[in-house]
């Protein structure tokens, strides 16, 4: 009988503590912010360059190379 009372008392304490913990957690100004999404386009840079020349026939070779 004494044990039953102790058990009930302990469980009530546990419930009370859980409620207090929950209340503190909920009242705290804690924000979970999602990580900034990264635009995949910002992670790649692409650039082009031109290479040019013009090959003329050599006149000394009869103009036909």
């Amino acid at each position: 009988m004494d044990n039953e009372k102790v058990i009930v008392a302990l469980l009530l304490i546990a419930i009370l503590l859980s409620v207090v913990t929950l209340a503190i957690t909920l009242s705290a100004d804690v924000q979970k912010k999602n990580a900034e999404s990264v635009n995949p386009a910002d992670l790649v840079g692409v650039e082009s360059a031109d290479v040019q020349l013009n090959v003329l026939p050599n006149p000394a070779k009869g103009g036909s190379s």
Partner: protein, 194 residues
Amino acid sequence: MKNSNLLTTLAVIVVITTLLTLIVTVNKIGMTGKATDTATANFTINSAASISFITNVVNWGSGSVDEIPTAAYLYTNGTVVDGTWNSVSQGLTLQNDGNVNVTVSLTSSKAAADFVGGTNPEFKWLVSENESNSCSSGLNPTSWTAVSTGSTTICSNMSYDDSKDALDIDLMVKVPEDAIGTKGCVITATGTAI
């Protein structure tokens, strides 16, 4: 009686666990009663990969292969051998102007046969640092290597630091005497954030 003892033990464990949870929560979050408060200023710096060719054109102009040899050699170090083309003393220079280190790869729209044409043409490139320590991972290629239309990784870790963020890409073209006509190709650099 045994069950009762077991239940008592379990109840004690539950209480202890709950108490610990409460303590940890309070420690993590903090309790009221503090005389100070804090404010938070938030800002975000986004990573952005950006590369650009400081020198984006190599143009040897018009010329022909000299009479005796069967081919001319054009380099971007100012050398023209056995040909009458303009001297080009500046290759392509690529700069990392983003705010993140990048892996850089190159592709060409054409290899030697399509770009130059004629008999046994050559089109090669090599890479060097325009600014020291621009590529901490090592460069590739560092000797004349045939240009490929496939992707060639020239640097796996190119710095974005302004003092060391530039690479030179030198080019060499062997022009056979039978490669007549206007030639052009596009070299594309891709920088991927690491």
